[in-house]
Symmetry: C2
Subunit: 352 residues, 2 copies
Amino acid sequence: MSEAAASASSVPDRADAIRSRIRARGGAATIYDIAELAGVNPSTVSRALGKPGRISATTAERVHAAASELDFRINPAARALQTGKTGMLGLVVADITNPVVFDVVRGAEHEAAAAGYTLVIAESQESSENESEVIERLLPSVDGLVLATTRLPPATIEDIATRKSVVMINNAVENVPSLVADVESGVNDVVDHLATLGHSSVVFLAGPPTSWISARRWEAIFAAAETKGLAIVEVGPNAPTIDGGRAAIRRVLASRATAVIAYNDLMAIGLMQALAGEGVAVPERISVVGFDDIFGSELIVPALTTVRTDLEAAGRRAVSMTLQDAADLPSGPVAPLPTQLIVRGSTGPAPS
Amino acid sequence: MSEAAASASSVPDRADAIRSRIRARGGAATIYDIAELAGVNPSTVSRALGKPGRISATTAERVHAAASELDFRINPAARALQTGKTGMLGLVVADITNPVVFDVVRGAEHEAAAAGYTLVIAESQESSENESEVIERLLPSVDGLVLATTRLPPATIEDIATRKSVVMINNAVENVPSLVADVESGVNDVVDHLATLGHSSVVFLAGPPTSWISARRWEAIFAAAETKGLAIVEVGPNAPTIDGGRAAIRRVLASRATAVIAYNDLMAIGLMQALAGEGVAVPERISVVGFDDIFGSELIVPALTTVRTDLEAAGRRAVSMTLQDAADLPSGPVAPLPTQLIVRGSTGPAPS
DNA sequence: TTGTAGGCGTTATCAT
DNA sequence: ATGATAACGCCTACAA
């Protein structure tokens, strides 16, 4: 047997030996295995795999060959233990099945994946105690947190933000970066729209008492209604769900208002279903407006007039802000998320 | 100063000292800190926190007091490095924004949380290469995997299942535990329903070619139609989305069928929108049926007749099966998921 | 019941 | 450019 042949066969042999040893110990390949196969020190393997430039080209080559030969996957726990970085990001939402969060989730997931991060989604189920627990459980294993629909008091949020990078969507707390929809602009458009249609008495169907954005919407509606000279009342708080909207029908009708602005589309849809059940025509007797433009808003009949925010973009930006913050990069002031009134069939002229 | 007073004040003092040391090194409390404060060995702390019985009551008491005093959270990476268990479960879906998966996600999330696990959700975006990548990235940091809408070939799945516990929903591969809907029962109900309404020619609007469950639905429909003496044709494959349904309208109309069974509700809804756009009355000229009963199915007009499966239960059961499998517990045979025909307005008598 | 000691796989800090 | 060595925080035989 020639030397060439011997060496050609000895390399696969060594790989096989190492492979069977790995299998024997019932685990995955480590940098030690690679080091052995490539004939270098483990620390060299770590560098070759970690930093591009810091190693000679030929060594890097050998290491990479050995790594793929042994099907090496880095052990994230071991890396995290040493570096303190887990490569994971948390996204906390109040209710996963609420269509509002679909887009946030998708945007966040894509941005995280693009940055090489893994997104962990957790649900608080509209309970702040639950949310605290969930966050405490998540915190040690993530590099940062996006709070999409938090029900936490500001003090708690501030406390969490001292421990990890936190970015909020549609919520504001001092010293905590956030992404907030341009409520005023959307609300002004809604109130203008209703005023133009001849409505003079409007109900705001409030969301949960702990929802920061519900309060902002109410304030903006209140202010806009005052300047337009419309009568405005707040009804609520209500659960931010279809059932929450349904349950509010009595109080809505009792108000004699000719238009309703619901805290979100889900409530608007619930209310419209209840109105249909009672034979109250929308928009002939009552106009209905929602927020968010969720999936389903254009499916319902009449299709829902609503205030849209690009929540997918919000999810993306929240993640990239979190990552920046986690990297201690300077985060400049953040422009509010643009907002857009989408007029569909659920609003019409006030009854005369 | 009495001894009692001295010791009473010295305890908080020591805690403060340790706390400031922790802060100084910019990290979290470790079992060493607790050990110091409680005056025991770190291993005792580990045991006290880990196993209830194995330690004297008074020591356990002291340790727990010290732990909460220092606000201790266990470091998951360190634990995972040692135990090989990460406390995380992966859920892989084709498309996060598809309403079908939201119930699965919710069920899985709740079950995982109840078991003290964290759920990581990953999206393959309907691409099998993408899915492979995503899974490779997830695998090292997860104790098990639920494949909810996988687009992977059986061989790949089998390979993954040799490395970690895998449970699939609506997909079957040898040697890999799975949870499958009782397709036949639901489909028989649908075909009966249509036959009773006088339909004699039916189209099945197929889903993605890589969808296992789409093929099963087609087979079941084919068989049921044959026994009922109905004409049946498959149209597709199509994207399992609203747009996929919309795009199929020409071929559906060309078939002259009086009823369409779509692979899922999203496609059914898209088709109905397209039909409405063309002025084709549903159900007067064409009846439409979907699968899944997603949010929105009862919102659209006419409301969609559909075959429902309890996907939230599927998510829950998939997670608990994964956990069992990961714990090497025996997993008995699994009953198929019950299925239920929900008749709404989108189906009616065949035109004469 | 509790302490001692070693190791899990990686990165970082020294040397060389 | 590469090697040796010491952490990172926790768990678990083994000893006492």
